[in-house]
């Protein structure tokens, strides 16, 4: 169950990027998830809303792109209302 730590890492990374843009409301976060990353997609999706609580990402959804034969764990985009 290290997925909560990973989810918190995602929230932190996106909050930083959001800050650099001067804020906005996050609708969704896009993540490349490698099959070899050691992270379970379902557990990550369950942990994500918890990790978002009390952050500017609260209420956003997580869009996961599965990548075979990769260890990627990378936030690629955020969908913003601005």
């Amino acid at each position: 169950m290290h997925e909560l730590s990973i989810a918190l890492g995602i929230v932190e990374a996106v909050a930083e990027a959001l800050d650099q843009r001067g804020g906005g409301r996050v609708r969704s976060v896009h993540l490349r998830l490698g099959a070899l990353s050691g992270v379970a997609k379902q557990a990550l999706e369950s942990a994500y809303p918890l990790a978002c609580e009390g952050s500017p990402l609260e209420g956003s959804s997580l869009v996961v792109l599965d990548v075979a034969e990769s260890r990627d764990l990378e936030v690629t985009a955020m969908e913003l209302d601005e």
């Binding site: 290290h2 730590s5 990374a13 990353s37 050691g38 990378e74 936030v75 969908e79 913003l80």
Partner: protein
């Protein structure tokens, strides 16, 4: 003003915070000439037993210390402290793995002074520790002959994130159905070329090779240009 929805590109690793902390630790260790070895395995594979004996042996000629992670209790720290070296328990509460920031904090609290070797025993878990860099120079994955010889096939991620595999409790070979040849083949299947050391802490089989291996890896790291 109407709100527009737009997609903004972000390039950030979800483990960025841990990776940054681990990188800072690694730089610190390299500058101090400390060779850092982390141990990962399932609970009960013999990390603490191997580590206690290793600390005893290395302390004869090296400055050594250890950090040990568990969800609760300081039993392992007390066991390791019998080796007569500085030891600090990291109690993770409900966390299933160690992170670089925990290592940094524990090291500050332990303040062991200059070290030749620092050992970090991770929480017994073959899944979660794989994702978290601790700033170590060598990650050792242990599995014992009382487990299944297919452990590498079942948990490829931890084998892929480790540098060397150590097969423990060799004195118990034959007590179950563990097939040594099959185990070696399984390691090779998930991580071609991975070093595999086979040993028994109890009987001393393979023990010198393990100590020599640690020393030679430390020497190689010292020779590497910074």
């Amino acid at each position: 003003m109407t709100l527009k929805t737009r997609l903004v590109e972000v390039r950030a690793n979800a483990l960025k915070q841990n990776d940054l902390a681990a990188r800072a630790l690694r730089r610190k260790f390299e500058e101090a000439g400390t060779f850092v070895v982390s141990l990962v395995s399932s609970p009960g594979a013999g990390k603490t037993t191997l580590l206690e004996a290793t600390l005893r042996r290395l302390r004869e000629r090296r400055r050594v210390a250890a950090l040990v992670g568990d969800l609760a209790t300081d039993n392992d720290a007390r066991r390791l402290a019998r080796a007569g070296v500085p030891v600090r328990q990291i109690s993770t509460g409900t966390m299933c793995h160690l992170e670089a920031a925990m290592v940094d904090r524990a090291l500050d609290e332990l303040a062991p002074g200059p070290l030749d070797f620092l050992f970090i025993e991770n929480v017994g878990n073959l899944v979660c520790p794989a994702s978290f860099d601790l700033g170590e120079a060598l990650r050792v994955v242990l599995f014992s002959v009382t487990e299944g010889d297919d452990k590498p096939l079942k948990y490829p991620t931890i084998f892929n994130s480790s540098d060397v595999a150590v097969l423990t409790k060799l004195d118990l070979l034959g007590a179950g159905d563990f097939d040594l040849g099959q185990a070696r083949w399984n390691v090779e299947a998930v991580r071609p070329g991975m070093d595999v050391l086979e040993l028994s802490t109890r009987t001393g089989t393979g023990w010198e090779r393990w100590i020599d291996y640690l020393e030679s890896k430390r020497d190689q790291a010292k020779e590497r240009p910074k």
